[in-house]
Point group: D3
Chain length 309, copies 6
């Protein structure tokens, strides 16, 4: 990628080419993962629920007592600007993740080489969605596998803050992917209930009602919340409760939600086919269609078009 065509990012007050977003190794974000982030996406080059994502970013900041030095609305404006500046670099059929990141910065005692870096480190950046890599999942469904590693318990570090501490997810992924490279790891919580995958929430359907794990053990996804709203509008029951592998194996349908996936059907859990094996199931299909309508963009088509692209 030539410098001329490089994406730009917001970095501590300036807009710079991505290659210049370089973090001092003594930043607590590097040393400790002492940082939070949040990510929205564009649909047909339009940003989705920026305000909701920034609100959640501030809850993560609050949990870690990090002062970002910006107001939510400043964050909103920066987010819009970065998206706008970078959108011309991708095709019409592509879209971006747009991400805010805030680290606690450099400890006073560590600032030797960066004496002026007294506040947090703030980044807003974009990344094209991996449409092609995921396209088949919309046709065939995701294979969910639960690793033996349990999701970090809320009395240790809350899964509800979206932070740069992802090793619990990383070791879970390593475990699962070593057996099945195309599987998605969804961790169980400390009680053995389904919790979440890296950046994704899980839902099952039984007798026409949708169930998803309670918020305490998972990051409350904005897409998850969108599913809540869509279900409500369509009169489909949706209940937050503890759900376990018995629920999953006997479910009629299963799907995951995430910022980038939006909603994607699950074909199997631990190799056990869900329902009759056809994806998406009818309720999942309705949610997906409503999601497409709600955002005014056919992201299902966007994904599927990449299968043989």
């Amino acid at each position: 990628m030539s410098l001329a065509n490089q994406r730009v990012a917001y970095f501590n007050g300036k807009i710079v080419p991505e290659s210049e977003v370089l973090i001092p190794f003594r930043d607590r974000g590097v040393k400790y993962g002492d940082a939070v982030f949040d990510t929205t996406r564009t649909f047909g080059h339009k940003l989705f629920k920026v305000g909701e994502h920034i609100d959640r970013l501030y809850r993560s900041l609050r949990y870690l007592r990090i002062d970002p030095g910006l107001t939510p609305s400043e964050f909103g404006r920066i987010t819009e600007e970065i998206a706008e500046r970078n959108l011309p670099l991708i095709g019409k059929d592509e879209d971006y993740w747009v991400t805010q990141r805030v680290t606690r910065g450099i400890d006073a005692s560590d600032r030797g080489a960066w004496p002026d870096h007294t506040g947090p480190t703030v980044i807003v950046e974009t990344l094209p969605l991996p449409l092609k890599a995921r396209a088949k999942l919309y046709r065939d469904g995701i294979e969910v596998v639960t690793p033996s590693v349990r999701r970090t318990a809320p009395d240790m570090i809350s899964p509800r803050a979206k932070t740069h501490n992802y090793l619990n997810m990383v070791v879970a992924d390593l475990e699962v992917v070593a057996q099945n490279p195309s599987a998605l790891a969804v961790l169980l919580d400390t009680n053995g209930n389904l919790a979440e995958g890296k950046g994704s929430n899980i839902f099952i359907v039984r007798e026409g009602v949708i169930y998803t794990p309670v918020e305490r053990y998972v990051l409350p996804g904005i897409s998850r919340e969108t599913v809540f709203d869509l279900a409500k509008n369509m009169g489909i029951g949706l209940v937050e409760k503890d759900i376990d592998l018995f629920d999953a194996y006997t479910a009629e349908e299963c799907f995951i939600s995430s910022t980038s996936f939006c909603v994607c059907p699950v074909a199997s859990v631990n190799g056990a086919r869900i329902g009759d094996g056809k994806v998406p199931g009818p309720v999942t299909h309705r949610i997906m269609r409503a999601y497409v309508d709600f955002v005014g963009f056919d992201w299902v088509r966007q994904y599927l078009d990449q299968i043989d692209a």
Copy 2:
């Protein structure tokens, strides 16, 4: 600090001024804390147990399945060189932390602006010990406080790997320091036993025998191991077992060990004075003297000299 006087660090194959050790924000070390490190120190400008620290670094790497692209002996040589290059920059009465860090690097899909960064990110760096800031603790003893947050459980992410995921420790510190800025947070494990503080192990003494938490719930410190060896040589019993707040409150002595602290007495746990309140207690004192002899350098004096410096 002028560039001329700046410390240097090893960074992906080169030795550069610290200010040039800058990590692409898309490095997994930044985004996920997907990285490990290990830290030794110098005593009177001489490195301590480099081999043991590098062995532990490799166990952390192995746990996370990161290939550092260097052999242990290469790491040893780099460590020695970096220490040697930086020692002239500090006074005779000062010493360094010397640290190796390895991140998993940048995911293939994220390498846009850094197309050649295909391997791990490797750093070896030094930092002067905070002697003055800690000096009083050797005179007065540490105030240990146990936060309500529990140490991450081993079936989520093992505390025995020394990683860049420190938020569990960070939230514990925030909790404790908000009530008492001079206290040291020592977390309880998932069963309510004493575990560890950020980079420090805890020991108690009862009837002349030393007890310290079992390895499963804590990082097995090299200084902790040094204490094991010293105790053995002096014929002092030392037992690894689950110890809890009852043990701490009824202990005759208590101390912590860490790379930089070596051994430092604890004056109180949750405000309850340990033993008769004089620090260090007799067993702690013997361990401290033996430690000084073992490393051939009076680090106790080094700390205490800073009290009114």
Copy 3:
């Protein structure tokens, strides 16, 4: 206090000066804390919800299989009488706690010196509320701190019975008060969720809805129930659910309820300021006003008047 002016109490069938309420050291209430109690208060010298408190006393008795030898209505009448007899001893601007206590009495084998003491020990007594000591909390808000000690789990001894076994609370208080003498200890339950403080329930507010821990892990306060009723009447949502430190740190408001506090705003949890730091927040304020209206007495004013008294 001269004997003439002494408060009286009900003690095993008689009304006597408090100084004569003396319990044989072999009473199981003394040896084992094998006893229950319940406490209401007066508002402007009028008793509050005596019936509800006595009902709860009987649930505690039932849990421990203690027969008090009195009917609930007898207990009610005694309570009224004791309050009436003692109210003349305090000022118009003061009020009482009024407490029933029942121990299991003396084991048959231990009755040597008290051969006739064959039944339970029953006390009904009063104590002036500590208005002055708490007054500032209504102006500044309470500083809540969560100790490392966990609230006793329900499969060991249920927190829902109000008994004379308070050591779990006592060790929690010792831990917290040693770091911050003005803080209120609120313990986490065995799963790491917020439970309760000594005699107080905790509530948070988020997006206008009030949340409070489920009954299983806490004493279901009569004031807590009063808050439920007031919220319902005002159309404010109130939900019992597991709430944790993430909830607390990201809450807009936080308050506690108790018989004597009624409702008192919380300013911070573990040093993290709640909301924008102004107390009481708007929802808390509405609940407090409604509580004042409901009891027909301005206890907020009563407390605040003591600040410089």
Copy 4:
């Protein structure tokens, strides 16, 4: 019992008839069970291991941060004197429990009727052992039953402090005795291992080695420690470890130890006969004989003599 023949007790600095040991109902020992105690016994009218019991009392005091206002040696002298004064009141074939108790006293705000009671409440007292009531257990063995209630977990309130908070034991006893009035409740700990009964430790024997639960979950009995010493002297292996119902049901022998029981064989656990059903088993028998020799008094005979007395 006429006053002339009444036992005396130490009570806050004086020696008084037991009937005068009366505790103000506002004492924290009454209201909260905020008190500790320890109990030794006499063998043939001679006190046993007073020093060890007082040391343990001080560990309990330390855990609760109660200052008894007396030195251990003062406590020892008082204990001796109280025993001496009361021994003439019982027969040659009888013996005493001798107990120290310390409460935290009365809170400053509660001292209205007892203005001078500013320190702890201290009692030393005696009680004849229930020899007759237990005699058959030495012939037939104890029937141990494990209730569904779990022993209080150490991160709530440590079972290693001997306090006046016994409700966890009381509800366990109620559960067991309702089904079998002659059974002894031995609770399981929070992990489902055998813990302890009210004042008694449990041991099993397998292949000639004795096993008993680790100290963390139980009060470390002085009699338990005596068994340790006796086993060591006789070359019988004795190991502290987690033992569960599988261990109990497949044990060759089982026994309990306590101050008053010393050592008493267990005939069955949850109705499952231990070993071949003959009590005491050979290892238990050796321990019992060694215990008799060690204390120089045949307490087995003392108990058995009461069967038809």
Copy 5:
């Protein structure tokens, strides 16, 4: 029983006398309990909710990934036929359990002596209800006792699948029945809440509302579901939630449901009398009457008639 009068059963495609339903010892159903079952009953010789039971059977099959080789409707027809063939063998006042069982069959490597047994083993069978043995329970109420053994946790093997692995229940029963042969063991779940007895669900009533444990920890009984429907029809509140011994001891009424019991009042839990001790309590009585009406058969009378039969 002469062969001529023997009940018949469906066994792998054939209807045979019960005595010919013999399972090869190498069948996984025998070796591992690797099998599921479900059981309905007749009321006045009419089958009850066959479809619901078969649906549940299929959820159990799905959980264990056993293919029964039959469709649900085939199972339904077989069930009807077996009931019909056997009903003439019992009196008018008697009724049957009718049970479907499916094992995974014989592993390929174990089929030596049964080379043709390549599929699952399928049985449908009947057994007369033990009316007489249970009759008194309807008059006096059940004595429920909670054993120390905990119900298997859902992240080990889900209690919601009805399988041939009953040892958790068996050891619980052994524990309880050894103390009280007429008691019913109801296990606590891994959190210490009430779970279920062997084939029975438990309910309590407080202030007119019925509570029963959540489905995650128990087999969701068809009779339990029937109680849900009846309560709803009568406008009686019924809530699924965690209930514990405090709830049980302070309940006004308690009852159990099961296929054969339908609804039977509980008189005591761990020896603590429920409510005022009269059975059935008013809410239980209403549910029982409604149940009788719903099935069109007075099973209460059927049981009670057996008391002196």
Copy 6:
């Protein structure tokens, strides 16, 4: 297999062809898995440690309170006879599993068709070892995978009894084998430590010392015990302790033991190569050779010879 060549088995007092060992479907062994078993093997047609296996069988029987109606020595004689009768049916290079099984028999109320079957059901039987199917594992090492399902906790049903309740293992296997048909499932215990696989114990080696999970969470294998003895004889340290995935991933070697496997090297755990990836590692190799010497038969050769057989 013709009847003439069929293996025989002991079945309730008689020796019969295997095809006649058929269990009434009402046997509790079938309905509930209410049965225990134990299995030894032959080495070069000689039985191994029959006495130890039968002793363990009796501990399992004792745990479940099943009376087998035979003495251990009678069981021993039957075992020998059955082995002897069946050995001629296999080749010199083959060997047998020899298994005792005891069910609790048929409940009195269920004996209709089998009125005389009043005692337990007892079987002793043989099965050729699956040498060929496992041969490659000795060359390549086993791939161990830990499922998300946890091993049944000891306070639910003890893993130390060898029973017919294997569904916990079965669901674990289903989970693992769906991702990798050649992997061996080794479950974690309720604390997240390594426990055991179906019939196999696991060991790791670090710095020349062997570690294996403590007995409480696993069946104490006779082969495991044999490894203990061999290690002791060779002066190799062997320690029972909690070991977790960190231990496994950083181990130098790993192996499993079982009756049929004896000792077999593990190549990887969750896809992470153990040590340098060569199997067997040096310590494992020494144990294997010592095992071969101890039993006087080269079972390694026996397995390896089958690779291309």
